[in-house]
Amino acid sequence: MTAAIQYILSGLAIGGIYALVGLGFHIMWSAAKAVNFAHGDTLMLGAVLAVLGVDAGMPLAVACLLAIIAGGIFGVLLERFAVRPFAATATSIGWMLTTIAVGVMIEALATLQFGGFSRPLPSPGVRSAVHIFGAGVYPQELAIPVVAILVMVSLRLMQRHTLIGRAMQAVAHDKRAAALMGINVNRIVAFSYGLASLFGAAAGVLVAPVIQVSASMGALLGLKGFAVAIIGGITSAPGIVIVGLGFGVMEKFVEGYISTASREIIGFAVMILVLLVFPQGLFGKREVLKV
């Protein structure tokens, strides 16, 4: 029983990270029908910069804030210089490869700066564990899924009630019509990438105290975030959060009862199976083909 509760609580924590990363893919996809394969590296960038900031003697809060902002700027720049030049081409090869290239370069640079080893980010959230039904968990871990849900809700509120949020939805629906209505589509796409990257970097900062920070931490987290977005349905923000949390919990159970290697095998196999049965994801809407 204790073990099960332990798995659920730590699963929700890592699942919250997948949800945040997945939401980033959702935002980018909605705006541009393209994503950013360096999104996992945005997460890594957030975590690494926060650690480096603390190293440099900044207060923790300032270091985290600056790391998140840097992540957002990275997203905007990436969109402008790696994605937009290839947005008009028929296949997605262009932006996929340029963003992968940037990801490889960022990871190499981070390895050079940060070294090949892993370090945790000190945070008050992991100073002492709390015990719930005998399962030990850090307050930081409890906060992560709450943040993921809050981000999803505020994203929804923003899309419904603010001018820029409505513009984002208009662009997601029909770029050309949005442009004819006077919406600056390029700016909205850039904003979306920035927002997605803010969430990505924030996920990095949030997870940094719990797991070890390293230059290579982003790849797998980013990929699982994408897997979660695919399973949940890339058009559905609530679907992504639900699946993200569920995916995290499932992973912890597999890891606990079988092994770490099986965790990856089963997790990704689930993604492929879901695609087979629900091509649009569990909660996604079918995109109507316009002829």
């Binding site: 393209a34 994503v35 394969f37 790696a82 030049p85 290839f86 028929a90 296949t91 997605s92 090869i93 262009g94 996929m96 490869l97 340029t98 992968i100 290239a101 940037v102 990801g103 490889v104 370069m105 990871e107 190499a108 640079l109 390895t111 050079l112 790849a219 797998l220 990929l223 994408f226 897997a227 695919i230 092994s259 290697a261 099986s262 990856e264 095998i265 990704f268 196999a269 993604m271 492929i272 199976l273 695609l275 087979l276 091509p279 649009q280 083909l289 002829v291």
Partner: protein
Amino acid sequence: MRYLIPLGFFAFALILAAVPLMAANEYALRLFMLFLIYGMIAVGLNVLVGLTGLVSLGQAGLFALGSYTGAILATRLGFDIVACCIGAAIVSGAFGVLLAYPTMRVKGVYLAVVTIAFGIIVENVAIEWQSLTGGTTGLSSIPRPNVFGIKLSGFAFYGVLAVTLFVFTLLIQNLKISRYGRTMLAVSQSETASRALGINPTGLRMLAFVVASVTAGIAGTFYAFLNSYISPDIFTFSDSVRFLLMVILGGAGSTFGPVIGAYILTYLPEYLQQFQLWQKFAYGALLLLVMFALPRGILGTFRLAFDRLRPADPIPDVAEGLPVETTLRHKKEMWTAELVASALTVRFGGLSALSNVSLRVKGGEIHALIGPNGAGKSTFVNTISGFYRPDEGRCELDGVELTGRRSLEIARLGLARTFQNTELFGELSVLENVMAGYDQRLSYGLLQALLRTPRMRREESECRRAAIGLLGFVGLSQYGNEAARSLPFGLQRRLEIARALAGKPRLLLLDEPAAGLTTQEIDDLEAMIRRIAGLGISVLLVEHHVDLIMALADTVTVLDYGEVIASDNPAAIQNDPRVIEAYFGTSPERAETAA
């Protein structure tokens, strides 16, 4: 130009034969053999990337799968290299199908993600399944390569690899210039148009992915024999990126580009090793550089420059073309292709785009469908051609039920269509567009395409001649070699008609063919539609242009707000009060009497 490719193969064979004679030492030869193995992966991946425009980032996973299969078969069961290759091809091909099927129905990006995930699955299975794969320590003591019990010397193994790469390159070149290559390119340009021509996009993408999987699997087996040791950590994500980069750097879609890319990226790491930590960064930077500076790759860029310098290809000879009368005419008893739509209702959310629409296009007639904007004309066209599903009602063509069938099946049943906002295969030539339309009439299969059998050549030449004839029919003879996207709008519309006709349809659906045409072009169009109907092809014409309709149509059906308000001969329609009202509103006098 025609001699360039055979010359390339000749030079390729010479190089492959000369290298072992010139290799300085065993290490140099080994490195070259590694290049041959990478070349096989790149050549296979080129079918996926260069022809269908999809990306796999899991080739290292398939390569590993082939490696392990080959190694296990060799060490456990003592299979020789041929049997190992066959085993690896079967296993990796099967996994290719398993991976591709769920992804092909959705977005291209998903394939990239699924393939990355597959690479991770393979790696972890290799770690976890210790009894079979040796876990993290891997499999060692893989025997020296042997064929039918005879051990191969280093040079003989080199020969096997060189011949295999040469044959792969040749077979894939054959695939590229067959119906498969043509339709794969078509699918990457416009999936919608492909479906409307009876081309199966899912099937073609699967085929491309399976080709890429099988070649990677076979390459994997060779790698296991070359290295005589394999472990999970030699098949990483960055290898997958490298395989993809080979194709892009060399020139996606070109015959020898992937081989050149594989050569460069086999030798480059040897030089980059001195930069140590910067090696990975350099990789990323190279990828970025290629994407911006050489998006077409080395051979693609070379080809572009070469095309500018050399004289243009001769225009396809009009005399070669088959007259449309022979390629399109149906037998007299087939003339009665009737389209019957009964009580069709289509709703989008709460809006009824079509309610209870019944329509009958009699065999051999020209039937016009008119109505104000938003009347539901395009919805009707999209519904009977299978792009939308009706909520109620049904339609049939000559007694064959169309409702519930996919658009590509409907196209194969003899219903061809054009699109309101032309959907051409922009990068294909004008002639290739029409040949893609002819695809459903070709009957040769994959094996015949790979081997270029006489039957394949005969059918291809017939297809080409029919396409030339059709281009003559629509007046585009002198544009045969131009890229379809470079044609002016009016000519693009004609090309769409030629392409739709190439499948020898029994019913042709024209969705606003006169929109945006000049008066002269509309007169030509009128004559063209008349000739089409004269060949025994029924025509359903969706149009706004009243003069054209009055001149052509045998029957006119008028839609308004998703309902049929009149259906009669043109003269009667012109005087129908409801039709006048739909177009011009109620006259003041009638409005008064009504009040």
